[in-house]
Structures are given as structure tokens and as C-alpha cells.
Symmetry: C2
Subunit: 293 residues, 2 copies
Amino acid sequence: MRTIVALPLLALVAASPAKKPPTPNDIVAASPASAWKTIPADDLLVMDLASGGRVVIQLAPAFAPVHVANIKALARGGYWNGATVYRVQDNYVAQWGLNESDKLWPKGVTAKPPPEYTRPLKGLDVRPLGYADPYATGAGFVDGWPVAYSLKGGWADLTHCYGYVGVGRDLSPDTGTGGELYAVIGHAPRHLDRNIALVGRVVEGIERLSSLPRGTEALGFYKDKAQYLPIASVRVVSDMPANERPSYEVMDTASATFARYLRVRANRHDDFYIRPAGGVDLCNVQVPVRKKT
Amino acid sequence: MRTIVALPLLALVAASPAKKPPTPNDIVAASPASAWKTIPADDLLVMDLASGGRVVIQLAPAFAPVHVANIKALARGGYWNGATVYRVQDNYVAQWGLNESDKLWPKGVTAKPPPEYTRPLKGLDVRPLGYADPYATGAGFVDGWPVAYSLKGGWADLTHCYGYVGVGRDLSPDTGTGGELYAVIGHAPRHLDRNIALVGRVVEGIERLSSLPRGTEALGFYKDKAQYLPIASVRVVSDMPANERPSYEVMDTASATFARYLRVRANRHDDFYIRPAGGVDLCNVQVPVRKKT
């Protein structure tokens, strides 16, 4: 028996090709089902463009409950039927909504939401990034979301990473109602953190916004209304017919798989890399999201 | 005399409107001419798209001298006449060149350049960023360029910020010749730092690359050659007729104006901001560049 056991072991070692260091994508591809969490249909927003494309947004009610409730009420009230993308500023944001319309708010919209720019840190299961953050004393992940935080200040906030969605507003104390939204389409403008209500992130179709022509007016507003990109509809996925609902999963940032993914994002040893960075910035981690159906 | 001196001072305080904290743009607008340096015409590359748009690149010979010399030789030899943008990967890069052509290198091209991924730190006048960098122990600015550096390692490297241009390559030890170039069109992919030769940055027209349709093949390659964006010509500005040469200035990162600009980028006190960040990441500083003629 011993020889039988020993031989296959030796043979295995001898025959096995040198094991290649994994890429982040390899880790995602090999991840167990337990490393993923399904996004609730009630936290998904589908924006269908009149031209045919679709942008899907995961809402973050735990970070901005009143603004997110407003956004659902706006979608359910048909507020964005006939809305447009009217501002695209290079390396900054694409913004949509009604742009200074006097259309009435649908039922259930809070006209003056509180400044949901941070939430209490206490009780949150933060998985630290493990590397320095230029904008806060702490950075890490809470339930699938990148956050900056302060132990001393006792707060955590969602961060302005690529594809993240925030609420346009005028000067403070206005916090924006949620009718005008933007998505980040460039390098993370993290100076906006803690100054704006972030309400979620694009999980599909960000390229439909990031590849739009840039507006030539100040701040990237389109010069002519003819340039506005029409939005056909914005719906909450839980309101869609069951057989039409798209479904997505987010990697559980408390999982061992995510810890491994993060480690590899910071230390690439696969063939292309000569010098692993030995670090990664919060917004370059890119929490994996995948389409289920 | 004392009262005369005292009165105007008091009057000034009383009559002066509350001084508004400046935005970064305010500082650029009010900057003295001495805070700027003209980019030498020999360090500027003009890429004219067949569709009519123009992309202008400032080369960085101090960081990658052999690769930059190659790029000038390629431009002068007409290598990119008939080249295309053939890869656009969302939140990553737009890449152009001949894509696996067997066209011969023009005269003066070094076929196997050395790995110009870092340069010696010694002797460089580095102006520190002043905030943590997740990728290196030091970050700052050298002669108008953002750099990461290591005192212990004795090196400095140009960083993969938005709009920065690098040399496509295969697996190491290949360093790329310069015929295939890419520009960053998303969040800074700084894991590429010290693994690729960075050769400059786009100073005009990055939006012509960042707003292109994304390629649907792996890594953002266009599926059909019909999607390739044709390049009419790539020229070194010093080779252009004198009356056609565009000219640009970069803010002197050793100037007091830049120090002030950096301080305000990290601490926005203008009306929109409620909580200044108290920090800024290297790639979000965005060294000011402006067109002169």
C-alpha cells in the first residue's frame, strides 16, 4: 500500500507543470459559489436608453437610505421617462436627469433629504484594504462596497470610484433629491467623497456612458439639446416581469476568495509583471460583479 | 501719520468683501507667467486622425530616452501612416499602432530598447506630494511630471495616470519598441508602473480616445478591422512648418504657484465643498497644462 500511495504522489509532482501564479481574473473564475452574494432585485435599477443600450445600477440603501428611497420613488413614478444624459465631462462624470425641469416630484419623494455623506462606523464589518489611502486614515470594504473611514471620527463613507453613482446637487445645504444623477467615468474624483450622497454603482453598461461624446460647454454640458442622449425608461428590477429581470452577484468582500483576490490585485506575479506593486489603491481593487441571468 | 496708516487698514478690512477661497482653476487663471514652462517642440507629437481630430502628446525623454528616440524615429519615418486605434478597453486603455504588422522599422529605431521603467532618484528635484501613496513609499513631482519613488531603492518612475502614454509590449524581457502605444482612459492602472515604459502624456485631445466605442473582444480589441480608427499621420512638432506648430505650457511643479495649486487640490474650501478631503492622490492632482498657440 505504501508504495502505491507514494508512487502517484511522486508521479504527480514530477508530471505537474510549474504552477502559474494566478491573475485576479483566474481567482474570479475559480471562485466557489459561496464567495458571491446575489444583489436583491429591489436594489437594482435598469436604465434603458432610447438608442437601445442598457445601464444597470446597484443601489446602496445602507449608505444613503433616503436618497435611495427617493430614486426608487422617482423610477416608480416615471420621473425619468423623457429624461436625458445632458452632461459628459471627460475624466469626470456623465450626468442624467431632467436638468432644471419643473416637473413635479412623484409621490413618496422627500424634497430635502438629509446629508447622507457618511454613516456610523460602529457595527460595520470593515475588511481593511491593507494599504495607505491619501484621502482618509482608513480604507477597506463593507459588504461589497469600497469605503474610506475614520476610527477617530467614527464614520465610514462610500467612495467615488470609477462607475460609482452620485446625486447631483447645488450648493450646500442642498443635498440633491436624486432626480439628477451622475456616474464617474474617469479617475476617481475622491475630493467629492463626504460632500455628495453616493447611491450606488453601475454594474453593467458603464461603457455606454463613458464612451459618449464629451460636452463642449463648461463642466461638460452639451451645447445643444439635440446632443442630449434620450433615456427610454428607468425601472426598479423588482417591478419588472419575473422573466425579464436581470440578476447579478457581487463578490463577498468578507470571503477568503476576496482576500485572495485583493492580495493578487496588489501583487501581480503572473507572466506580464516583472515588479509586483506591493500595494493597490482602493478604487483600483474593483470589487468583482458578475451577471447571473 | 499713525492715524492715516491705521485708518486705511481698518477701512480695508471693513469694506473688503469676504474673500472667497480659490478653486484650483482660480489659481491657474491667476498664475504668473513665471509659473509655466514651454514644452520644447521636439518633445511634442501630433497625431492627426483621419476623421479630422487631433491628439497631442508630450514626450518624456528624461524618463525613457531610448523609447522616446524610437518614437521620434518612427514618426519621422512615416511608420504610423496608415496605422489605427485598434483596441479600446473601458476603464483602461486606448491603443494604437500597426498591431502585428511586419512593416520594417524606419532608420534609427533601436529594436530592443532597455527596460526604461525607472530612473535614478539621485539628483532629481522631487517636490513631494505630501500624502500617502498606496503604490510606493514616496510620491511627488519632478519637472512637471508625477512620479513615485523610493529613497531606499534609489529610483523614481513616471506613473500611469489618466491620459499617460505607454509602450505596448509582449512578455518580459521584451520592452516594446514604441510602435504600439496606449493612453490610459480610466482610473490610474498603477499596477503597470515599473513594468512598462511610460513615454509621455496626452496634453490635448484625450477625449478623442476616451470617447471611442469600446472593443468587444478580450482586452478591448475591436472585433472587425472595419471598427479600427484610422490615423492620418503622426509628426514631431519641430518637423512641422513654423506657422503650424501648436505650443503648450506646463505648470512648473517647483513653483510656489504649483505648491498652492496642490494645497487647494487637497483642501477644497470653495462653496461647493463642505468637508475638504485633507489629501489628494498623485493622479488626481493633474498637473496643469495649457495651450499657448
